[in-house]
Symmetry: C2
């Protein structure tokens, strides 16, 4: 097996190191993509602040930060639609994380399994229209 | 089949409508998640401005906006690692898009298939460490 780590890499190098040092944006957030661990479907894209990230790692359940409500929230806290994290990964520059989850019920607040229930198709005139896909509510 | 559209929904409603009206952030960007159309793996998370989105829809190839370089870029323009878009979807509040792509070569600038080549694991003491996963370079 080839070694993925260059001999020149330092442990704290953002891209090649093994130190987790999330690159929070100006609002203190990283982007989080949650996918269904079984199907691979993208369930939602949301944000985590340092506290949400820490709680997700410690508890193994999905926590987020709501930009609109300016508040930490545990996914499923009121709905019961919790996310059990099977694996978390970070990307090359550590400004995003990907979690593969076992999703109880619906990830989307509209009651759908995934937030991505509409396809975008070009109309050939510079615009685009939407069409429902996998849009049944649970 | 149940109808996913409420009879009360208006065509231009962000969540239930069929009008594509991306909700750009203060910087004029939406988040884009690109996954491998065959494997479902998350390849990268990046951003699109209005022009990148329009070109992606019109050409069927992935275009992005680089926040660091402040420039529009076509994925693979110099590397040849282009993305053919199989499907684009948008989420409930239309501030993110998900594209399923056929990725030529590596999606990551480090030469790896995906930017998400490190797993994040809690160390039991409030911190986390990284480990390489699927990190071979192409």
């Amino acid at each position: 097996m080839s070694t993925p780590v260059s001999s020149h890499a330092h442990a704290d190098d953002a891209e090649e190191g093994l130190t987790f040092r999330p690159k929070f944006d100006a609002s203190g957030l990283v982007t989080c993509v949650a996918t269904d661990a079984a199907s691979g479907e993208v369930l939602m894209v949301a944000h985590m602040n340092e506290e949400a990230l820490r709680r997700t790692i410690e508890t193994g359940e999905g926590w987020y930060y709501s930009r609109s409500r300016k508040a930490l929230w545990k996914k499923g806290e009121t709905s019961g639609h919790v996310q059990r994290v099977v694996e978390m990964r970070t990307d090359c520059d550590q400004d995003a994380v990907w979690i593969r989850v076992e999703q109880t019920g619906a990830a989307c607040h509209t009651g759908r399994r995934s937030c991505f229930y509409r396809a975008v198709t070009g109309n050939g005139a510079g615009g685009a229209t939407l069409s429902f896909v996998d849009a049944e509510r649970g």
